[in-house]
């Protein structure tokens, strides 16, 4: 087992950090960018494309970089460090990942190439009011019509749903949940966008006999959805780690400079001990997220590893997000100061694809099935013996 990044990975991190630092090093810039639609900076999106990041995990023959989950983790963490509002995980990891998992070669060639170039931004329309964090659809139904399909029903909230050039939509088909592509200008498509509390954008997306194309061969895609969601959960864990890291460093800096009662706040052990506990939470979560990406890289059980990463980063994100504000005091609650935005983003991530309690329940269902958890054993490391 090896937790060290190789030199190419370190170079990647440095390059991404440089780009994002130029874009959002000043937190006021982010605040301005998210205040108007589409909620991110199209120029920064183009720069991410120029660096090859928007095709990072896609196969080279489809216009991608052919990189692995560790590289995705690095980019996600750097996005989190400045809470960059660009929809890297939503478009590249999640929607792009679904296309990779279920799409035909032709669809991959067309869509991955366009995503990588930054000219097409996809979104995954999956969440429905009344259910949560399931890999199946129930409120949108697909009906075969001639050579194609039509969709009817409502998805909400769909992150990036209003701006998306193409939607990957989950819908009820015979025998399960299928995946479909819907163009942004399709007939019978109504999108109502709004701001989310963390500066992002989401939408209500209604389909009314909307023409759609099956992604891949059609049929039940629940397993592909489950896997893509798991990979996105792991990527969000890395984004959280970046955000928590900045929240903690910002808090520590504040404790060293802010004076009350004639001394800086770091003279109060009641505060420094709490900062120490934040560090403990962060490092434990970081280890778990890195491990989950290594499991993905090794071809182990991604879904189980993602649940573990989700649980650990959810707990850590709440702990660090809340304490970062509390240790700042009133300024932490203002929109003019940056730390509260980190807490808001951590809160959004926590609710996007499953929170800590949700992950804990899933792990609890399996608790009797193993004697001990061996991070280097089955089901995480392929080929390893059962502990």
């Amino acid at each position: 087992m090896d937790f060290t990044f190789d030199s190419e990975q370190n170079d990647l991190r440095e390059a991404v950090r440089g780009l994002l630092e130029r874009a959002y090093g000043d937190s006021e810039v982010r605040r301005k960018v998210v205040s108007s639609d589409p909620g991110f900076d199209e120029k920064t999106w183009s720069r991410l494309a120029e660096m090859g990041l928007l095709g990072l995990p896609f196969a080279e023959e489809h216009g991608g970089m052919g990189a692995g989950p560790i590289e995705v983790a690095i980019v996600a963490e750097e996005m989190g460090r400045v809470i960059a509002p660009e929809p890297f995980i939503e478009a590249v990891v999640l929607a792009g990942g679904l296309i990779a998992a279920a799409g035909t070669d032709e669809q991959k060639g067309e869509l991955h190439g366009a995503i990588a170039e930054g000219t097409t931004i996809p979104a995954f329309a999956h969440a429905e009011i009344g259910t949560r964090w399931v890999p199946s659809a129930s409120a949108v139904t697909a009906t075969q019509s001639g050579d194609g399909w039509t969709l009817s029903g409502v998805k909400e909230p769909v992150p990036g749903g209003a701006r998306a050039d193409v939607l990957v939509v989950s819908a009820v088909v015979d025998g399960g949940t299928g995946l479909f592509l819907v163009q942004g200008d399709a007939a019978g498509l109504t999108r109502t966008g709004y701001r989310t509390h963390d500066g992002g954008r989401a939408a209500r997306v209604a389909f009314d006999g909307t023409p759609a194309v099956a992604l891949g061969a059609g049929g039940d895609q629940t397993a592909a959805i489950e896997r893509a969601l798991a990979e996105a959960r792991i990527a969000y864990s890395h984004e959280s780690i970046g955000a928590m890291d900045t929240a903690l460093r910002t808090t520590a800096e504040y404790l060293k400079t802010r004076k009350q009662f004639g001394v800086t706040l770091n003279r109060f052990q009641a505060l420094t001990f709490r900062a120490a506990d934040m560090y403990v939470s962060l490092e434990l979560a970081r280890s778990t997220a890195l491990w989950a990406s290594m499991v993905t890289d090794a071809g182990g059980d991604v879904v189980a590893a993602a649940d573990r990463a989700r649980l650990q980063t959810s707990r850590a994100g709440r702990h660090i997000g809340k304490e970062a504000i509390q240790l700042h005091g009133g300024i932490g609650v203002t929109a003019e100061y940056k730390v509260g935005h980190y807490t808001s983003r951590l809160t959004a991530i926590d609710h996007l694809l499953g929170d800590g309690d949700w992950a804990a329940d899933r792990l609890a269902a399996d608790v009797a099935a193993h004697e001990t958890v061996d991070p280097l054993g089955a089901p995480y490391a392929p080929g390893a013996g059962v502990a």
Binding site: F3, T4, A360
Partner: protein
């Protein structure tokens, strides 16, 4: 970044697993699994079994019986040992005075002590804490005054773990009361526990057991050659020693074992017509604990890989802090599963209460110590806030 162990390390892990589960007496391992106190003879025979195979002190220099392993190999060694319920080599010997002697002792001292220390022919105990010097160890007041060829030691030590079995003590003494900084005037002396003037008083703990002691020194004469390293440099050696103490203190393997036991017992006790393990609250509690432990294990693996230069990674404080909390949480889980059966703590023959339930409450109470010894968790928070966060 790579998940799997290399084939060499896989083989190494298998070799360790096989050794620990076949070459250390089963009855000793059963006793560890049942959380029963070991006798002195059992500690000694377990350590000698390891030492005979060269597995008692792998972290020592090679010329004194060490293995020149990577930090990851040492981690695997410790993990597998704990998973197999093998009592670890006596910490006072293997992790504390041994490495100090190897690093700072003179050649004569090394030859005199190290082999016997590895084999537990000498049982060492630790003379560090005093009634008024706990976390603030540098305030210690036991004195050693030079008189001819001897040091004369007076004072008192406390929390001397298993001192009742000890042949020798390594003892921090104030040798220069005039030193400007209190850390500067301390020296490290070693002497036999049966030296005239040494008396030991056992302290009963809340579990009814006797594992710690007070040790009193009244004009104890210690030959000058028993000074380890340089005079007045004892604090440096103590810091070196405590850094070693913190490595491996996460005790992930041991806690894993506890949780595995908890799951087994939670299958055997029913509540509301189903096994306790199947109740949502218990299942979730165990799942959360397993995940916390996984995070700790991964962090330990991450930290060992980054402490190759021999110095403990600053994040090793995380291991102590969280490791102790999880040991306590796992023990709390066991006592909660035992429920009313935990009251039968001192039942003997004629009681139907299973063994684990009898020892659960005393062990739970005893385990309050783990967040206190080895640098209390508050000391670890101070280290994290100071050295890592710069606060």
């Amino acid at each position: 970044m790579r998940l799997q162990l290399s084939p060499e390390l896989e083989a190494f892990r298998e070799e360790m697993r096989t050794f620990f589960t076949t070459q250390v007496p089963q009855e000793i391992r059963d006793k560890v699994a049942a959380h029963r106190h070991l006798t002195k003879d059992e500690y000694v025979s377990a350590q000698r079994a390891l030492n005979a195979a060269g597995l008692a002190v792998p972290h020592w220099p090679v010329e004194w019986g060490g293995k020149d392993w990577t930090p990851l190999q040492r981690h695997i060694w410790r993990e597998e040992m704990q998973l197999a319920n093998v009592p670890e080599p006596l910490a006072f010997n293997a992790s504390m005075i041994g490495p100090v002697l190897a690093a700072f002792g003179n050649q004569e001292q090394k030859e005199r002590f190290l082999a016997k220390t590895a084999n537990l022919d000498i049982w060492w105990c630790q003379g560090f804490s005093e009634p008024d010097a706990g976390s603030d160890l540098a305030s210690l007041r036991t004195t050693a005054v030079r008189d001819g060829d001897d040091w004369v030691v007076n004072g008192q030590k406390t929390w001397t773990t298993l001192g009742q079995y000890a042949d020798w003590i390594f003892c921090l003494c104030r040798t220069d009361p005039t030193a400007e900084k209190k850390q500067r005037g301390i020296s490290l002396l070693v002497f036999p526990m049966d030296t005239p003037g040494v008396t030991l008083r056992p302290i009963e703990l809340i579990d009814g057991g006797f594992e710690v002691n007070e040790v009193f020194f009244e004009d104890v004469r210690v030959p000058a050659e028993n000074l380890i390293g340089e005079e007045n440099r004892g604090w440096d050696y103590a810091k070196f020693l405590l850094g070693n103490e913190r490595v491996g203190i996460a005790r992930v393997g041991a806690t894993k074992r506890l949780i595995a036991q908890a799951k087994e017992y939670a299958q055997e006790i029913s509540e509301g017509g189903r096994p306790l393990l199947e109740t949502p609250r218990m299942a979730t509690r165990i799942a959360e604990l397993e995940n916390e432990l996984l995070a700790l294990e991964l962090t330990a693996l991450r930290v060992v890989a980054n402490s190759a230069d021999g110095k403990p990674h600053p994040a090793s404080s995380v291991l102590k802090l969280r490791g102790s909390e999880l040991q306590q949480a796992a023990m709390e889980l066991l006592v909660d599963i035992a429920g009313p059966l935990s009251l039968a703590s001192f039942a003997e023959e004629g009681s139907d209460v299973p063994d684990f339930a009898r020892v659960s409450a005393p062990t739970y109470l005893n385990y309050r110590k783990v967040s206190i010894y080895g640098g209390s968790n508050e000391v670890q928070r101070t280290i994290i806030a100071g050295t890592i966060l710069g606060l």
